[in-house]
Amino acid sequence: MNTDKLNFVVPAKAKMTSFVLMGLGLISIICMFIFDVAPEGDHHYQHTRAWANIFAGSFFFMAIALGAAFFLGLQYAAESGWSTSVKRIIEAVTWYLPWGLSFLMLIFILGQLHMHSIYPWMTEGIADTASPNYDAVIAGKIGYFGAFWWIRTILYMVAWVFFTWKLRKNSLDADSLGHEEAKGFHWKNVKLSAWFMVVFAVSSSTSAWDWLMSIDTHWFSTMMGWYVFSGMWVSALITITILVVWLKKLGYLEFVTESTVHDLGKWMFAISFLWTYLYFSQFMLIWYADIPEEVTYFHTRWESYKALMWTVLFVNFAFPMIMLMSRDSKRNFFFLIFVGTIIFVGHYLDMIMIVMPGTVGHNWTGLSWMELGNFLFFLGLFIYVVLHNLSKRPLRVKNHPFIDESIHHSY
């Protein structure tokens, strides 16, 4: 085996691309704040669309890292062997997490300082009957927000970063030791992952309620957490698959078999269905019951975002179903990259669909350069950070007990 190819060196072209994307994105974000002006007669408009875009970008890419962290933990907890050869790629994706969470934290703090109005419940005097901003519905829920919300937010962030950091650290420590001592680190990670799964099961749902569902503060849905979770999971899988295929094309990852790539393709296919299942379950229950306080969510989307809503459903459900159904398509590298890229954008549009109707609402004029530019900035940063992480460690884990099984994984 070619040992030189175990250490990834970021190609100059990829680095350049990420910088160009970030540059273009940064210019767009600045322009976004200049050109995103209030609709006539609205004096409270605080560049809502620009802020909502930044929030969507921050959350989407943070969610990819989080989804990858969950997937990494899942592999340990299930003690699965097939994925060991791509473990380092998953680990590299997870460590965008601190970046993504920092962006979110910044947005939350600025919201609390009333710099933007993404969260209606952050508005001053929202629970004060004497204030002109008083909202009876939000006043009834205010105990769940405010200080309690901040405590939860900090807890999620600390817990996620801790588990991800520890999983990565144990994995690296195991590599520097002998084969026997390294076993202990593996079991440590198995136990840690079991705890992580429990923490994640609760926090992935509640964080989606806190950060995304509370944009539409009047509305509520217990499906929201799983819906967001399935979206982040499939986005993470797409990212991992594309990275693996790209690295293989560059000549790295000789030890990753075609069957492992096929399995990643299967995951992409399966979790696309999970997403559709949860999306539709949420929709159908609300559609059937037809209760006014629930239907507002889909009413706004149906009125002002109809084309986008159908696009999201088609791209994220019908497209992967048709394209990834056959065995051959999941073993075709070009196909995986092509389909993966399109679903990736589809899930970003899904994030836009979650954030925009509650913030921009009926002032929405359709997708524009603002969404594109903002997306490019976060994409550029994400690529840069992930590739940098990837170059920090050898691409193959050395002392993992399942690495041999994984290298010979074929069917």
Partner: protein, 182 residues
């Protein structure tokens, strides 16, 4: 009319078995069948089995299930006895389609799964009252077997290959006479 020798090549592991299969096929010998106690991943192309067509069957059964479910629900809910459920009168299939999607999905999966199982069982003739066709019961426990039907010249070559790749036993089980079909 051709007389063929039946040969059982018995192995203790799947790795030498795959090796032997590769060598047999490389020297132009047709492998009639392989018996293993568990599914060996990746053995199909080595033995020379054609790609399974069960996926095509599954697709056809699925489409059939979807069509049947749609027809059933349209007849019951729209055509024969339209009800007003939760303020949603069943005047047309199109406007109430979200309510019909779960059943369409279930029927598709039901027909695809049952159709595939039945096709598999019938194709292998695993019907009630069928006799077991396993030529050596040890292959259900811990032995792996290559089953060959060959003429004399090929038999010698096969014997050599089987022994050289580590066969534990090479058993000659008599001959069969194959009538030309034309």
């Amino acid at each position: 009319m051709a007389t063929k020798q039946i040969i059982h090549g018995i192995f203790g592991d799947e790795v030498p078995l795959s090796e032997a299969c590769k060598k047999l096929r490389a020297s132009g010998i047709r492998i009639a069948d392989v018996f293993t106690p568990f599914p060996v991943h990746g053995i199909d192309p080595i033995v020379g089995l054609p790609r399974t067509r069960i996926a095509i069957c599954a697709f056809i059964y699925g489409i059939t299930g979807l069509a049947l479910a749609t027809l059933m629900m349209w007849y019951m809910m729209i055509h024969d006895w339209p009800n007003d459920i939760g303020g949603k009168p069943n005047w047309s299939y199109y406007f109430n389609i979200p309510a019909f999607i779960p059943i369409s999905f279930e029927a598709t999966v039901f027909c695809a799964a049952h159709g595939m199982s039945l096709t598999y069982l019938l194709r292998c003739m695993l019907v009630p009252g069928a006799h077991p066709k396993n030529p050596d019961p040890r292959t259900t426990d811990d032995k792996f077997m290559i089953y060959l039907e060959l003429n004399d010249e090929q038999s010698k070559k096969a014997d050599e290959i089987l022994r050289s790749t580590g066969a534990e036993e090479v058993n000659y089980k008599g001959t069969i006479t194959i009538e030309p079909k034309y």
